[in-house]
């Protein structure tokens, strides 16, 4: 169904059910933070899990999406749909330019170049006037979605974020299970062979990168809208690192891993907040335990244990 395997379809239904039920039990704002991180991680996973390229600079696309949505909401009072769409476009455009420079490299070189390019974006954001420097863009109005949904209500905002997440999730799923996705798998499995069959592999990788960056930009824009703020943290390399951590924890290359990872990491940050500086230490420790004990990540281990594809 929807191109899911049976086990994946059941997992999908469970995920949707949780998304529907949770806001009645937990804080919607916390859940929206999880969903934004989850969409970001799903987009990142498209590159590392399905193309086999580790982008170490995905914060650049997340952060620029966040800035553009925040700025256009605040100064142009756009419809939220348009503003988030512009965030996605920004991610895609930046991804096209930076991806073009990086895509011919592989392995550690790709990671280093994406990191270096993302650092340049960070310094651009630090200096450029429109980002508000250290203060960021604050007090961004949530406005309205499609003219009639008043997003200042947390629950309305939540359903919009949930719809964006599920839409993005299904889009990524379709990309993976398309004729294009089939070529991507071939490239990941054996790139020289794909070339020898007549595929210009760089083109496929670049398109995948642009798609990943577009969805990342949407995630960034959505986040800016939810919290009414876009700051340097969004483009900082620690954000790039966090999405790597989320994806590894949840299960790299699995469909549901990134969402699970986002839930775990966001919950940790949220509930360990009282621990102050210790958060990083505790996070690091948990991360180490996970990497040592559950190499495949939470979802990956479950899938392996129950012999399922998830």
């Amino acid at each position: 169904m929807l191109g899911f395997s049976r086990s994946q379809f059941i997992a999908f239904l469970i995920m949707v059910a949780l998304i529907v039920v949770c806001p009645f039990v937990l804080y919607p704002v916390f859940l929206m933070r999880v969903l934004c991180a989850a969409l970001f991680a799903c987009a990142f996973n498209l590159m590392i899990g399905y193309v086999g390229l580790l982008s170490f600079g995905h914060a650049a696309y997340f952060g620029m999406g966040s800035y553009v949505t925040a700025w256009t909401m605040k100064h142009w009072h756009l419809d939220a749909f348009l503003a988030i769409g512009l965030g996605g476009l920004t991610g895609a455009a930046l991804g096209l330019v930076l991806g073009y420079l990086a895509i011919r490299r592989s392995g550690i070189y790709f990671a280093m170049i994406t990191l270096a390019l993302a650092q340049m974006v960070y310094f651009f954001c630090l200096e450029a006037p429109f980002t508000g420097g250290e203060d960021g863009i604050q007090q961004v109005p949530r406005g309205r979605m499609l003219g009639f949904l008043d997003l200042s209500n947390d629950m309305t905002m939540y359903w919009v974020v949930a719809a964006i997440f599920i839409g993005g999730f299904l889009t990524i799923h379709r990309i993976i299970h398309s004729p294009f996705g089939q070529v991507l798998k071939g490239i990941r499995e054996n790139e020289p062979r794909a070339t020898s069959l007549g595929y210009r592999t760089d083109d496929y990788k670049l398109i995948a990168f642009v798609l990943s960056c577009a969805i990342t930009g949407i995630a960034g824009g959505t986040k800016a809208l939810v919290f009414g703020i876009a700051t340097l943290t969004d483009v900082h390399y620690s954000t790039s690192g966090e999405v790597v951590l989320i994806t590894l924890l949840g299960g790299l290359g699995t469909v549901f891993g990134p969402a699970m990872g986002a839930l775990i990491v966001t919950a940790m940050e949220n509930y360990l907040a009282q621990a102050g500086a210790w958060v990083t230490v505790i996070q690091g420790a948990i991360f180490m335990v996970c990497v040592l004990a559950f190499r495949r990540g939470v979802i990956g281990e479950i899938a392996n244990w129950r012999k399922l594809t998830l």
């Binding site: 379709r174 004729p179 996705g181 020898s196 069959l197 007549g198 210009r200 083109d203």
Partner: protein, 255 residues
Amino acid sequence: MAANDRSDIILETQGLTREFSGFVAVDGVDLRVKTGQIHALIGPNGAGKTTCFNLLTSFLEPTRGTIRFKGRDITGMKPAMVARLGLVRSFQISAVFPHLTALENVRLALQRARGASFDFWRSESTLKVYDDRARALLNDVGLSGQEETIVVNLSYGLKRALEIATTLALEPEMMLLDEPTAGMAHGDVDRIVELIRRIRKGRTILMVEHNLSVVEGLCDTITVLTRGRVLAEGDYAEVSKNPEVIAAYLGSEHA
């Protein structure tokens, strides 16, 4: 130079040379492959055969020299483009997509017929139209019943057969096979030889092969390469009597 224009030459190189930081791996090779033949490229290890294949298919750029395929200069062309012109290679180490099924492997080649598959918005069920042809190809190389097997689980011999099926799916005018029988058990070798004999119809094959009895039974023309240079060329009878060839072979293989 009149000979260069002969229309029965499908692939021709002139002065093909490749250096690796000073070391000359392929040294001024003039190769001519006739349309419809099975042409063998033999020579001791390190002679430059695989490097030649990499040059012919643009996986490497030549330091000097030109390559013409079907009368067209393809030197410096993108490797994917060379493949699309109908010059398709296999690899010395088995070239499969290990974690896809056998059917998906062949389908990835058939899918090329659509042109570029950039359509990320369509369902992969679009590709079902290729399933029948893929099954037929798998059947051709003795892989019927293995359609849904994840390729990493196939035996080495079957992987090589699958590789040929995948290459055939492109219906290439010319195939380059790099040691298609290397490391195979006897029965598997015979099967691959039989397969090559069947698929040669309507195409040209250039193959690297160490097993001389395979070469003898299969190949029309043989080029012997040593240290990057052409040592001898001719049919099996001529080449095998050439004292230089005997010396080179005995010298490096059995020394």
